[in-house]
């Protein structure tokens, strides 16, 4: 799972009921592969030695996280500098097949949402069922938040990575500011 100690300088929310950090970019590859294309699948298994994740899940190994996006699309995240060589070699090998591995590092920005109510925040904009009973560590969702596209990676019920298109970064910062305001927690009375 992705490990990153949030830089306090990047904390974008203040006096809120969860903490939100702007991480910036995470090295990533968008992978597209036909499930019948054994050559491409073998490269995934051999080069990065990760099992393909099942629907809305991730697989992880040594700082590399492979996220399920759809039946023929995955997102590979690389959190460790020492994986760069492996990462680049994988990209090269993959592009020799009929599959695709394309660098999309700069395409998204990532946020880390921390706190006991991290999931609650996303429930203010994401139509999926994000109740604690329905998701688990390592779940990954590509969905929408209000009008924008969003990816959600559940590190734990208290730590969630969220990515949006980089052009939506400022909008997302504003969204977090509004929706994490103290007094607007999602509470039940009994």
């Amino acid at each position: 799972m992705i490990q990153r100690v949030p830089n306090k300088m990047d904390k974008i929310t203040d006096d809120t009921f969860v903490d939100v950090y702007l991480i910036g970019s995470i090295r990533s590859l968008n992978i597209r592969v036909d499930q019948r294309d054994k050559k491409s699948l073998n490269i995934i298994k051999k080069n990065i030695a990760i099992e393909l994740p099942s629907v809305q899940k991730t697989s992880e190994r040594k700082g590399l996280t492979l996220c399920w996006i759809s039946n023929d699309e995955y997102l590979l995240l690389n959190e460790k500098k020492e994986n760069d060589k492996l990462f680049n070699e994988f990209k090269k090998q993959m592009n020799l097949t009929t599959g695709v591995a394309e660098n999309t590092t700069d395409l998204r920005v990532w946020f880390l949402v921390k706190g006991g109510r991290a999931l609650d925040i996303l429930r203010k904009g994401v139509p999926l069922d994000l109740s604690k009973s329905k998701i688990s560590k390592g779940s990954f969702f590509r969905t929408r938040l209000g009008e924008i596209q969003i990816n959600i990676l559940i590190k734990s019920s208290n730590e969630i990575l969220v990515s949006v298109l980089r052009s939506h970064r400022d909008y997302m910062v504003d969204w977090f500011e509004v929706c994490t305001m103290r007094g607007t927690e999602i509470n039940f009375d009994l």
């Binding site: 009929t98 695709v100 999309t104 203010k124 994000l130 009375d189």
Partner: protein, 995 residues
Amino acid sequence: MSSRLPQEGSRINREKTVDFRFNGKNLKGFDGDTVASALLANNELLVARSFKYHRPRGIFSEGEEEPNALMGIGEGPYFEPNIRATEAKIKQNMNVESQNHWPSLRFDFLSINNLFSRFFAAGFYYKTFMWPRAAWKYLFEPMIRRASGLGNAPRDYDEAHYEHIYHHTDVLIIGGGLAGITAAKALSDRGLSIMLCEKDCVMGGRYLEDCESGNRERYKKLHKSSMEILKNSKDISVKLNTTVTGIFDHGFALAYEENQHSDTATKKALWKIRAKIIILCTGAIERPLVFPDNDLPGIMLAASVRDYLQKYGVLLGDQLVLTTNNDYAYKTVIELKRRGIDVPVVLDTRTSSDDPIIEEIESLGVRILFGKCIGKVEGKRKVDAVGICSVNGQGTIEELIPCNAIAVSGGWTPNVNLWSHCGGKLLWDGESGFYKPDPENTPIGKEGETNMLVLGAAAGIFGDYDIQDQVPRKINQLASRLKIKSKRYIETNIFSKEPEKKGIPTYVIPHGASKEKHKKMYIDFQNDVKLSDLQLAAQEGFENIEHAKRYTTLGMATDQGKTSNINGIHVLSQILGKPIDRIGHTTFRPPYKPIPLGLIAGQYAKKLFKPIRKTPIDKWNSRKNAMWEPVADWRRAYAYPRGNESLEETLSREVLSVRKNVGLLDASTLGKILVKGPDAGQFLDLIYTNMMSTLKDGKCRYGLMCNEAGFVFDDGVVARLNEQSFLCHTTSGGADRVFSWLEEWLQTEWHHLKVFIVNLTEQYSQIAVAGPKARELLQSFKSVDLSAEKLPFMHFIETYIDDIWVRVYRISFSGELSYELAVNSNQAEELWNKLIKVGKKYKVQPYGTEALHILRAEKGFIVVGDETDGTVTPHDLGMDWIVSKKKKDFIGKKAFSLPYLNSSLRKQLVGILTLDKNKVLPDGCHAVEDGKAIGHITSTYFSPTLKRAIALGLIENGRSRKGSTLEFESSNKESIFAKIVEPNFYDPEGTKQDG
């Protein structure tokens, strides 16, 4: 007069006084008071004026069914109109204002309408004010609009905090009364997630307050233990102050939560709930009786009189007459007598009753008159006396009883609005006199299964014993139907089986009332609909209940007929001589109760109103005070004005900078879609009108996409990265549309092709470096060799500028020597800064989208969305050269053979030069010939390069008109004459693009 009793009030904290203002008058209430209870406690009986006749109105109920007491509450940015005084809690220094009167509530000038009410019968505005014709617009309509309506819209920006919340649950229980609580308990521990929404601030509904005094402790004990179960259950989540306002297809419900957020603000949340099963425990609403003058302040539903006593210690009046048709309403008399309040008489429309409560009442010394009702009410702005008459007579007054309040009860109506919202049908229960849910015609879920259950009073089951008997049984049946493995829920029924409190359905009294009395018998208080209005509607042929509703406004608007529907249906059935079940009922529509418009917007207001996409160079653009232009969801720099420059001067400077020196454009918004795979070329040949598969590695080709109808869909440059990979550029606004288009064709039509696509629009930013000094500027970076030999036109290379990787395209949208630099977005701003810094030597200037448009219009280049509008073909644009004659197939090919698309009468793209070279044609203006529009302007500018106005336009048979002069008409009817020319005004030979 209404007043506060010295003690009592389960909802108020007498230790904490709250100051508030009503129409400028300082009043005091207690913490926990509603506006209504606080007003009654202050003897404010007159609180509103009616919608049409401006009749004095008072508080009629205690809950959401309130038709009269709609208030403007709050001030400035927190002001909200049309709030029910019965639902809003008072807050310190709250400002409350009554509505719909002038100059004051007590002396309302428009109450003159009441005197002329005979002229304002239902539908009067359809028949009157017909002439003079102009008077409707300038006199009658403004006058009517001013006189009618409810509150005024707020003038300030709404500062309340609104938000949306998504919630998924297995079961949604609506209503926290006895039925709802029992249902929740019965469903717990079955592995289901349960959400219970209660509109009130406490659980319990009516059963605690309406129980016999001897049972109260036992009931309290049950309630306490129930609350403990709910609290300790991991399955159950309870939301108070939350009203479910609508139920839609497949178990989707909307609920409105209103809670205190801070001392000054409330949090208002719209819950978007997805539930597999919905259980309606919405209870019932007490129905009034219709009698002459039944709308005066001081008349209230009987149960509400009780509620104000018990919850707020507020007494409606100390001489109260009850008029009813059922035994249940007698509880009000008991509660009043227990507190020593005078009840001069009870008027019961029935001939008798054998319920023990009658004896109890009589033993308290209260006079009960069976077969009697109210024939008139005396008083101007409050009740002074009631005239008693026989139910079956014409309303002849037999006795006048002084009193200052009237409690009225015509029975109870199950609250079935939500059941109806999503298609549940209703059954008429003639014995009880109400519509109730039809168990054979229920709302259904996505699999076609019944997904809603209705329990308790909402289902027409009223006794506590019966509810506690029904609910576990129904829940066990539900569990069995859903195959939920768990033991049956059994609960000991603590209630004793009491004789059912009976009533005989009666709606309008006295039965033989004269027509004159009908004009004073109000059915719908909120919309001022009288019995005589319904008679008129029926007389004029509006016999269908839906037609009568629209003609009279019965049951419309924010009220949705909560207290008026059944009475209205009965009246219509009487007039038409048809049984009620043949009259039917109107359609209940969401929202069940009014919700603020801000709630629908949720958090998506102000800075969250619309997601604005920003490029990596946006910050630099901001620092340079760029003017902005929205391009799809992007914000792009429109121009970079300097000092006191006018816009024209700025545009001229930017354009000439590109023509003479070099300019930089932030072109990051261009769509960039990677198409990769062994069949990528074949796929693109099908997508574009021209051939792409023959494109060599390292080369670029301009391409046009059409839809199946042959109309231009998008355009852009395609670069072949390698044997299997193409990078397709799209318009800024078209990237997502084109990406979906490609994916759709791949997945549905050409799924056999081995092709994948990836949207890389934001991975790469793009910077255009355009102008005769562009090459010099770029070659200042030592690593770059961009000579014409190394990088010819329509080629690209990958290289480094300093240490920044770039893909350099030799393409031009300005007609000048131009390079477009694609760079990884994280380094875009850095590259931009380098170019600006190094470019100083070459007088580099950034230029915005407007200069870009002028430059391309000078060259006659099209812009999709300007020169095209979804009805334009490549042929219309004079771009036949881009439509392949060799390819067997591509999207749109078939359409090009249609005669209509080849007609010479179609509009064709031409260049247009005004005869007065300083006269810029208005954008979109029409070309006129023989009084007929024959085309329009698509792009129009003053060209700083040519120092004259230029335009592009689509003109019927335009190409054959070259050299001729046409008349163009501006929106202010000014005629401008212009010559039709080739659509290329600058460097037609194309020599400039090589530098």
